[in-house]
């Protein structure tokens, strides 16, 4: 190819071709190794996340088991069992039980409430 400047390049065309190919290869190799490093770090963290997720799931399961177990456990002294609520909020149920205990002149822990249900107008 014709040179357009009076002074020819100090780098031969063959040498330039080798430098270009080698340079492109160095960029590729460098970034491929970097890709491998990043992938390895990513894989480590993904595995760690999976382990953490599994541990969290296990902990959740453990937390639910004692709750179930506690339902089967003997009741604390002085308690009068469990009450089933139908469409009645806890607060209202507590008020109902307190009113009943007051009217009957009995301590609350000597009464046993089986269930409390709200009776709707259309059920009357």
């Amino acid at each position: 190819m014709a040179m357009v400047f009076p002074i020819a390049s100090d780098t031969g065309i063959g040498e330039a071709a080798v430098t270009a190919v080698f340079g492109y290869a160095v960029v590729f190799v460098g970034l491929v190794i970097l890709m491998a490093l990043i992938s390895a770090v990513g894989a480590f963290f993904k595995a760690k996340d999976r382990k953490a997720a599994a541990a969290a799931a296990a902990a959740k399961a453990e937390n639910t088991v004692p709750a179930e177990a506690s339902s089967a456990a003997p009741l604390a002294p002085g308690s009068a069992g469990h009450v089933k609520l139908f469409d009645v909020p806890d607060k209202e149920a507590a008020m109902v039980m307190a009113v009943v205990a007051h009217k009957m002149q009995k301590p609350l822990n000597e009464l046993r409430f089986i269930s409390i249900k709200e009776v709707k107008n259309d059920e009357i």
Partner: protein, 408 residues
């Protein structure tokens, strides 16, 4: 006071007389070039933050500097002959910043920051603090596209050698294909400072013209079906991974190519400040205040190198032509590897993200998004294209480091 003599002295000292001196007409042309660049920067908003500064630097240096017997005007803001002495091993002022400080003008002093590689490195600090490497971390294969898109760098380097440029000059011209202004300035200021003006202007002009240069090549090299591919959501990257990334990249890349240390080191330090979560003030400063200050100095001092006597030459035209070639082939390289990844992934990767491997962040990624959306309106490629885009920044820094290692 002799009024006539004073008037004659004022007239002789004025810049207007300079236009009638030998070669003074070249300054007029450069003033016109500066006005065109100002128009492109202000009116067309082509990389305005840098182009306006470069254009005004060009204007300042060409209204203040008329060469009389090979020497700059007494009141010149920039003195190319001082920098020639600085680079001349036989001169008593070889590598003497003291000589520049003592005898230079305002722009000579600002140019020290370019010559030492200070401004490009500080710009990289800001870029690092502004860049989210999350898309790259969630899809590390993006790095292959960032590597592929350096094709133009080495093809333009080869082309420049064929056209008779010296090896260091060819390397500086080739890096225009990396589509990374600070890297181009960094490499050129070290290898071929005499070409800094045209290379910086070509690099920033083509970066601004990416929305015009890339889409035709993207449409030419991909089918409608390939452009329509919708990519799946990438995984969430943890904070720890983001903190480890700059440390790993710095360790690996600088050990591989120590000459990349100023660029990669600053890029990754900026990113670490962003991600570590305990240096929000520093991250904010380098992203905004420092970045703006350095941009002011960088633009005006690069503009100062566009002295008419050296800028107006056949070389500049070749640099502009080779720069365009470099940009085009970098885009093609990214697209071709994108197509290979499309095939290997069974059509899951949209090859358009390959063109974003040129490191003009985030312009190239936006172009991928726009072209992809035209093919499939429900397509959203931006985040997928950001991976190759930021990989291109690392890729072009490695390419520059390699060329610096060869020719330093």
């Amino acid at each position: 006071m002799n009024i006539l003599e004073t008037l004659q002295t004022l007239l002789e000292d004025s810049g207007f007389m300079g236009f009638f001196m030998d070669g003074g007409w070249k300054n007029l042309i450069m003033i016109a070039v500066a006005c065109v660049l100002l128009y492109l920067g202000i009116r067309k908003q082509f990389e305005p933050l840098l182009l306006v500064g470069i254009a005004f630097g060009c204007l300042l240096v060409n209204v203040s500097n008329f060469f009389i017997d090979g020497a700059s005007s007494p009141d010149a803001l920039y003195h190319p002959e001082l920098w020639s002495q600085f680079l001349d091993e036989t001169s008593e002022h070889y590598h003497s910043y003291g000589n520049i400080m003592a005898n230079g003008g305002l722009l000579d002093i600002l140019y020290i920051g370019v010559k030492t590689g200070l401004y490009p490195s500080l710009i990289f600090l800001g870029i690092g603090a502004m860049t989210d490497f999350g898309p790259l971390l969630s899809n590390p294969k993006s790095l292959l596209l960032g590597a592929a898109a350096q094709l133009g760098v080495f093809l333009a380097y080869f082309g420049a050698v064929c056209l008779g440029f010296t090896g260091p000059q060819a390397a500086s011209i080739g890096i225009i294909g990396g589509a990374d202004g600070p890297t181009a300035i960094f490499l050129t200021s070290r290898l071929a400072p005499e070409l800094l003006g045209p290379i910086a202007i070509a690099a920033y002009s083509y970066m601004a013209l990416i929305p015009l240069i890339q889409p035709p090549l993207m449409k030419l090299l991909t089918t409608e079906k390939e452009r329509s591919v919708k990519m799946v959501q990438t995984r969430q990257v943890s904070k720890t991974e983001k903190i480890l990334f700059p440390i790993i990249v710095s360790l690996f890349v600088i050990l591989l190519l120590p000459s990349t240390a100023p660029l990669i080191g600053c890029l990754m330090l900026g990113n670490l400040w962003r991600e570590c979560g305990v240096t929000a003030r520093l991250s904010d400063t380098v992203q905004n205040a420092l970045m703006n200050i350095v941009t002011v100095f960088l633009g005006i001092s690069v503009g100062a190198t566009t002295v008419a006597s050296s800028f107006l030459s056949l070389q500049t035209l070749y640099i502009v032509g080779l720069g365009l070639l470099a940009f085009a082939f970098s885009t093609i390289g990214g697209l071709l590897v994108g197509k290979i990844m499309y095939k290997l992934s069974g059509g899951k990767i949209n090859p358009l993200i390959g063109s974003a491997g040129v490191s003009a962040v985030p312009m190239a990624a936006r172009v991928s998004q726009d072209v992809g959306k035209k093919a499939n309106p429900s397509n959203f490629l931006l985040m997928h294209a950001m991976g190759p885009n930021v990989a291109g920044v690392i890729g072009s820094a490695i390419a520059a480091g390699f060329l610096l290692a060869v020719y330093k």
